[in-house]
Assembly symmetry: C2
């Protein structure tokens, strides 16, 4: 039924189905929908935003299902949770390892290229006797849109 709505959508969904199978997870309806949505819209999305975006496209999926799905897809390394500080969790497709910049003023999140491009890109001090498999960096400051406004007050 969804294949008749939009040619692009079905293309994304077929890709999603294949990727899911390859990763060893069952290609259920919510999983295909969530994964292909994240692919098509891009960016960093919260669970409720995913539910809303799918709803707008005519796909009713439960909130709880999306919570399950993102957890499963994260375990399968198909999506990743963007560390942007406390608050609600944001998810994105896991293509290339990267970091994030968060604007203090407007909350906008942008990707920051990782020089390494793969997971353990920074090494923690030896003293931490544990196995570390990833190091996410959060850059904070003011984005190009917000910087001028607050710079004005610094100059006064």
């Amino acid at each position: 039924m969804s294949s008749r709505r939009d040619p692009d959508t079905s293309r994304f969904e077929n890709l999603a189905r294949r990727r899911l199978r390859e990763a060893g997870v069952r290609a259920t309806r919510p999983r295909v929908l969530v994964y292909s949505l994240l692919h098509s819209v891009g960016g960093h999305r919260s669970v409720d935003q995913i539910v809303k975006l799918l709803g707008e496209r005519g796909h009713r999926v439960q909130r709880m299902s999306v919570y399950n799905v993102v957890a499963d897809l994260q375990a399968a390394s198909l999506v990743m949770c963007a560390d942007v500080g406390p608050g609600r969790a944001l998810y994105e497709v896991n293509d290339r390892w990267h970091h994030h910049f968060v604007c203090r003023a407007c909350g906008r999140v942008e990707d920051v290229e990782c020089l390494e491009g793969r997971k353990p890109c920074l090494s923690p001090p030896e003293s931490l006797a544990a196995q570390v498999d990833e190091a996410q960096v959060i850059f904070r400051g003011l984005c190009v849109d917000c910087a001028p406004a607050s710079r004005k007050s610094s100059y006064s």
Copy 2:
């Protein structure tokens, strides 16, 4: 009244009062209590944990007040919010700039020394045309207590 409970407590509270004044914020009861608590117990504490810990010490403070207090103290650079991923915000005293290690299994948070020791310790790529004032790193993996347990399954 609190000064008669515990000699150490009043010492922390006097220190806190002085620091608050120096930072230009009014030394109100909740602020003094929260700040001296964070100093004395150390570690990374959520708002509700702070309310509970204060309650156990005989100080009743509203949850809402603690939210206000940590926001004010953060603005005054007296406490900082530890970026440990989505979920509730954790606060700690702001002494030396450092990063965090979070255990995937038990959620434990540990401090990781920052080689620089002061705020913008990593530079973002030039392409991000914005002013960046801090870069927090979150190391994820398994802590010394959890590592052996899951290593077992990797070896099977």
